[in-house]
Symmetry: C2
Subunit: 243 residues, 2 copies
């Protein structure tokens, strides 16, 4: 029998309507922040500090941190590399703490930090995340980072994939219309995910800037079993295998 | 060639992200405010004053207005009748100005009033509204009233029905992910609309209170050609036929 509540929040602008301090919040920003974060941990990063603006990223750089930061597709002059998941290579990130400048993703992580725990989700870690979530025995809120306060298709579709797994487990139930919506989007998308994501505005924005090479990678399931969880100001992988 | 922009805003909480003062905004609250408003005009109401709270509704009652007001399914003691579309009978409303207390709907109407014009949409007036919108030669924002700041399935589905018609006209284009989402919901819903709406949380809320008798009526197309447009503090039917 279903014991726990599943909800989906399709934009951080309405997260205050989802008051549940005891819940686990899954932050979703598949193109590209949550995919990049998962890939950083897949490649052995020690921890990752998400920061909302370039000014803060620059301060970290001045303190000696490795920094990923771009705006409108241009790597910032002070940064070590840009925001694509592909930039988080083992050579660059293994054993290190990386500062990652991301507007939508960081906003969501900050908002969610009022809840019991915050975990980062993407297709890269979907099965591992599903297993971990089911072990938590807590209500779950799927929080889509969206785009500038609006709703994004790709995050909603991932929320649907996650919701489908949670409800199939029988441990969760939902009376949230946003869960109903993302489940239906997932049903339409799952048989040809990349064709479906082709409709997303963010896909067009990335394509225009030549930054869409990562899209297939961001929609491939289970390239990592990393579970990036927020601890204080940074994300750490709590599913790190002993070396 | 498409000339005008179509956008969908799935909750009034993010309407400030849709800054377009020259647009026409369609306010959607199908269960039940926008359907009730259309039915009031179908039955000959002169004008309709939407008010957000019971206190304001009561003030109007004290001034002699006919007032529709309920909370949690109970008709308020001071009110003449409740919020169901069925209550707006010709006997009660013909030639009169009615005050209608509705939380979500009024909020949306107030927010939209910063734009060029505000019109109320529901399945009851969908074809008439489509025709009128296409005559306006303006960008259109479909604003779903939702429920307590969250997204509701039934409003999103109606937005999809409207979006489908607007885009089919060839006069409109969209790069808004929320339009993509509601179009897909509409595709899933349209062949058996009532079965689809059965999944909506609001449908369950109304059923629990025995207020769901109006749901088939609220999803039947074209029972009226009324076009309720906001003028100052009240809605008037600008498509009123000469008697």
């Amino acid at each position: 029998m279903a014991k726990y509540k599943l909800e989906a929040c399709l934009t951080p602008s309405i997260f205050d309507r989802y008051s549940d301090p005891e819940a686990v919040v899954v932050v979703i920003d598949t193109l590209r922040a949550s995919s990049a974060i998962c890939n950083a941990f897949a490649n052995g990063a020690e921890s990752l500090i998400p920061v909302p603006d370039l000014e803060e990223a620059k301060k970290f750089k001045d303190k000696g941190y490795m920094v990923a930061a771009e705006r409108d597709g241009y790597v910032q002059e002070f940064a070590d590399f840009g925001n694509s998941p592909f930039n988080f290579t083992p050579e660059r990130v293994r054993g290190r703490t990386i500062v990652y400048s991301t507007t939508n993703g960081t906003r969501s992580i900050n908002q969610a930090s009022s809840c019991h725990s915050v975990v980062v989700g993407s297709f890269l870690n979907i099965s591992s995340l599903e297993k971990w979530l089911l072990d938590q025995n807590r209500n779950v809120i799927l929080l889509c980072a969206g785009w500038k306060g609006r709703i994004s298709l790709e995050d909603s579709v991932f929320a649907g994939a996650m919701a489908s797994r949670m409800l199939d487990s029988g441990k969760y139930s939902s009376i949230c219309d946003s869960v109903t919506i993302v489940l239906d989007l997932w049903k339409l998308a799952k048989n040809d995910l990349l064709a479906y994501i082709d409709k997303a505005a963010q896909r067009s924005r990335l394509r225009e800037k030549g930054l869409d090479d990562c899209i297939p990678f961001c929609h491939e399931a289970d390239s990592t079993d990393a579970i990036p969880v927020l601890e204080q100001d940074r994300l750490v992988n709590i599913n790190k295998k002993p070396v």
